[in-house]
């Protein structure tokens, strides 16, 4: 790595990192990003710009990241395998590195049938594991997936991946994390944590295998904004595990928004104490303005 990103530097120094997600708009107005950016600027080390998340068309992650760079904020480009084959993926990795994007998060991607163009054809030429391996070889060995040499500067990437500690079969979850480390991941942003008990079990196994020394794990936190959102997450979003007690608290709450915030604060405070967790990744869906108080109240602010 020629020049480290802030995120990598923080993590390498053993500091507790914070990343936050900024959803790009369904349109070409850059102000939709800059306005959200202003709210969260300084409250996280780096900011994810999603790549057509849930298969809904939005401004590209690449463009969103460029807008953040102009705002002197550090972006994390997200890249999925759903919409691009290995040619386009490699081309975008080179392009992103060329414009100064240093952190990238590589995912397989939500299936197109979940999104707003269910008639589209999913690409899925390669999967996230293969994509991680591909980018690592581009960065470290200077070779493309086909074995050709990179002729004009290897891309400079701090390689991110996702992990879901709650998916089935649970027995495979740590093995799969290990596989992602071997493939090339430097940091992990996990699926949103609500089931602390299960997350703790997963982290214990991660630590017992020493994997926390090989990769930086950032635990995902998504504040629940309403009962409707809680129900959608609990019953309709694959891979999310919202325990009944949290669901019931949200159900009984007079003010679900403030209750959801309180739950998120408690979750962050608890996650901070879990051995092996190196940071928090906040996904405040359509609720970016909650990020500043959330990091202040949980003592993970000021940023370094």
């Amino acid at each position: 790595m020629v020049c480290k990103s802030n995120l990598q530097r923080s993590l390498d120094e053993g500091l507790f990192a914070v990343t936050a997600e900024i959803g790009p708009p369904k349109g070409s107005d850059p102000e939709k990003i800059t306005k959200k950016a202003e709210i969260v600027k300084g409250f996280a080390d780096a900011f994810n710009i999603t790549d057509n998340q849930t298969a809904v068309v939005r401004m590209s992650s690449m463009a969103g990241c460029c807008i953040l760079l102009k705002e002197k904020m550090e972006p994390i480009l997200q890249m999925t395998c759903r919409d691009r084959n290995r040619i386009a993926l490699q081309s975008d990795i080179l392009g992103a590195s060329a414009v100064g994007i240093k952190n990238m998060l590589f995912l397989t991607g939500d299936h197109q049938s979940f999104g707003n163009h269910p008639e589209s054809k999913g690409v899925f030429d390669i999967d996230s594991m293969q994509l991680l391996q591909m980018v690592k070889k581009m960065r470290d060995d200077g070779i493309f997936q086909n074995g050709d040499e990179i002729l004009a500067k290897n891309p400079d990437v701090f390689v991110g991946a996702a992990a879901n500690p709650f998916a089935d079969p649970f027995e495979l979850r740590v093995d799969r994390l290990h596989k992602k480390i071997l493939a090339g991941a430097d940091f992990i942003q996990t699926q949103s944590v609500y089931n602390l008990e299960k997350f703790q079990v997963w982290m214990d196994e991660v630590c017992s295998l020493g994997l926390d020394k090989k990769i930086h794990i950032l635990a995902g936190v998504t504040p629940l904004k309403s009962l409707r959102m809680t129900e959608r997450m609990k019953f309709h979003v694959p891979g999310v595990d919202i325990p009944d007690d949290i669901y019931n608290i949200m159900k009984k709450a007079d003010d679900p928004k403030s209750k959801g915030y309180e739950i998120a604060v408690n979750l962050i405070n608890d996650i901070k104490k879990i051995r092996g967790v190196h940071g928090i990744h906040i996904t405040a869906l359509f609720w970016e303005d909650i990020v500043p108080s959330l990091v202040k109240e949980t003592g993970i602010y000021p940023r370094y």
Binding site: P118, S120, K121
Partner: protein, 212 residues
């Protein structure tokens, strides 16, 4: 018909390992493709035995993709199958999985690669005809399918790469758009090509199950 191609024997024998092995063939597509009929199964048996690997038995299924038929036809071979470590299936990918469905304690080996759904043009010659995309558009294209027969699956072809009626991707392949053009010209309906065909609904190809 499902067109298959037998894998290289060296690959098959590597998967068979030390055996013993039971061999399964198919009386339909794989027989017509000469990849898993009686002749090929017996030839495979001979070659495997020449490598000092025990073949406990063999059976041609009717056809291999029929779960209940397989159950019934393989019942008399219980002892032979029990003695085997693996089952080598010379059928299409479906046949292999139907056998896998039946035997979860055996190593299932696929002896064939499954290529496409196609036509027997003449003996020993097979051409791709269908991608099983879930929504047939053939009436728009004179009964000639650009989804399966154009490497770019173009619905508003031809592209700029076709030369003398041959495809740019494979000079041995007739450009299907050239064929469509010739048919329409003959019928005096070339103007039909002026209509922009809308993007295809690929979600139709996602079905994993059908019950009637």
């Amino acid at each position: 018909m499902i067109i298959t191609k037998q894998k290289k024997f060296e690959e098959i024998i590597k998967s068979v390992d030390k055996g013993p092995v039971f061999i399964v063939g198919c009386n339909e597509c794989a027989t017509l493709c000469h990849t898993g009929g009686e002749e090929e199964v017996l030839e495979m048996k001979k070659k495997i035995e020449e490598n000092n690997i025990n073949v406990t038995g063999w059976k041609i299924l009717e056809p291999a993709c029929h779960l209940n038929n397989d159950r019934r036809l393989l019942k008399p071979y219980k002892a032979e199958i029990e003695k085997s470590k693996n089952i080598l299936v010379l059928a299409c990918g479906n046949g292999v999985q139907t056998i896998s469905h039946l035997y979860d304690n055996k190593d299932i080996i696929s002896g064939n690669d499954t290529l496409f759904l196609g036509e027997i043009v003449r003996a020993n010659e097979f051409d791709k005809r269908c991608n099983m995309c879930g929504e047939c558009l053939l009436d728009l294209f004179e009964g000639l399918c650009p989804i399966s027969r154009c490497p770019k699956s173009m619905l508003n072809g031809p592209c700029g790469g076709s030369v003398n009626g041959k495809c740019e991707v494979d000079k041995n392949l007739d450009c299907i758009w050239d064929e469509i053009y010739k048919r329409l010209k003959k019928k005096g309906r070339l103007n039909q090509l002026n209509e922009i065909q809308k993007p295809k609904d690929w979600s139709k190809s996602l079905d994993m199950k059908r019950r009637i």
